[in-house]
Symmetry: C2
Subunit: 190 residues, 2 copies
DNA sequence: CCAAAACATTTACATTTGTTGAGGAATTGA
DNA sequence: TCAATTCCTCAACAAATGTAAATGTTTTGG
């Protein structure tokens, strides 16, 4: 539990009441490797803070190709946010790539807290600013402009430890290329 | 001015005080086609609500290739957000593709208002949720997975009026392809 | 209105990436 | 442990996209 609020406070300081209120909606859970936290087609309601382990958020095309959008390692908040916000079935599945223990909470309960406690609203704003804006802007350019080799180098540079934990085909799926192409890239960079 | 607050209220209802406070930091300005609202390398501070006209936000690579990340037509809020948030030089330029009239305000003055007035914080949250999460999630998948022809079709489908206003090379730049390739795609789809 | 600049298309060739299928290595779960 | 499964790499060929250069059209600013 401490690790949770310690992480929260990297976004903004929390009052004691806010902490207590948030604590009240937290539940500890574990997911075995291969388990889904969110399943495509269902309307999700929960956010999972990853204490230990690793989730991926992925889309499966009609042809069965898997495209990974994001990895959620330790201390990240995993959720299919746009599905919750629009209360529609999720286009993504969130899967445990490793045995994963989390602290879960109901997103709408959280939203209510954010309307009640200004510091929780501030957390939410700061979280979105960092992870949905600051981190995504360069990525959007790279996806349009950079060849996969360059995107791999950038990913490896930013998340060296993740690279070691991931299967190659997961990395390929995140880069939007086939395992074949990733093999070629790794050959070239050797 | 009315069109501004009318748009705001599509995100959340605003109290009279909030409106007055926000109104106080608004300035009307115009940009001729080709003018920059934000220039790469500078630390921007302002947000521009587009009343009439069209901006593009683009990145220029070291080789001089232009990659367009977003278009800001009427009633959108144009800004290089991550540069402002992190108070670093912008990696993007925001340019007027047409003669454009805007209502500008200082982003940090706005942030202060959002800490003071809960309804302005709610606007900011709702705005980010819609434009940075709900709209971006499918795009991120498409950029990784869909060939340019399919991305063109999706763009044309979602913004039919924009397609007519834009030069082909701007559309190509938004899709992350060359004008040559866009020509081929348009040939095929004919 | 007109000359200059910007834009769009096409062709030929190069590069990147995808597809399919095969073989061997690593991993896993009973 | 060990058989089954999953994973990785590689080869050969196919498709998508990039590059460069030529040409004709459109737009634009004076």
């Amino acid at each position: 539990m401490d690790v949770f609020f310690k992480k929260i406070e990297t976004y903004t300081k929390l009052s004691a009441e806010s902490r207590t209120a948030w604590e009240a909606i937290l539940t500890a859970k574990t997911y075995k490797r291969g388990d889904n936290f969110v399943t495509e087609g269902q309307a999700p309601k929960k956010v999972a803070f990853v204490v230990k382990g690793l989730f991926s958020q992925n889309y499966v095309s009609d042809k069965g190709e898997v495209v990974i959008k994001t990895f959620f390692p330790e201390q990240r908040f995993a959720a299919s946010v746009s599905a919750m916000l629009s209360k529609t079935p999720s286009m993504f599945t969130i899967t445990a790539l490793e045995d994963t223990s989390v602290l879960e909470y109901d997103f709408f309960a959280f939203k209510k807290l954010s309307e009640q406690y200004m510091d929780i609203a501030t957390f939410y704003i700061n979280y979105m600013e960092l992870h949905w804006i600051i981190e995504k802007e360069p990525l959007e350019i790279a996806l349009r402009h950079d060849p996969a080799g360059k995107r791999y180098a950038a990913f490896a540079d930013k998340f060296p430890s993740l690279i070691k934990r991931l299967k190659k085909h997961h990395i390929a799926s995140y880069l939007g290329i086939t395992p074949t192409q990733l093999s070629r890239i790794l050959l070239t960079n050797k």
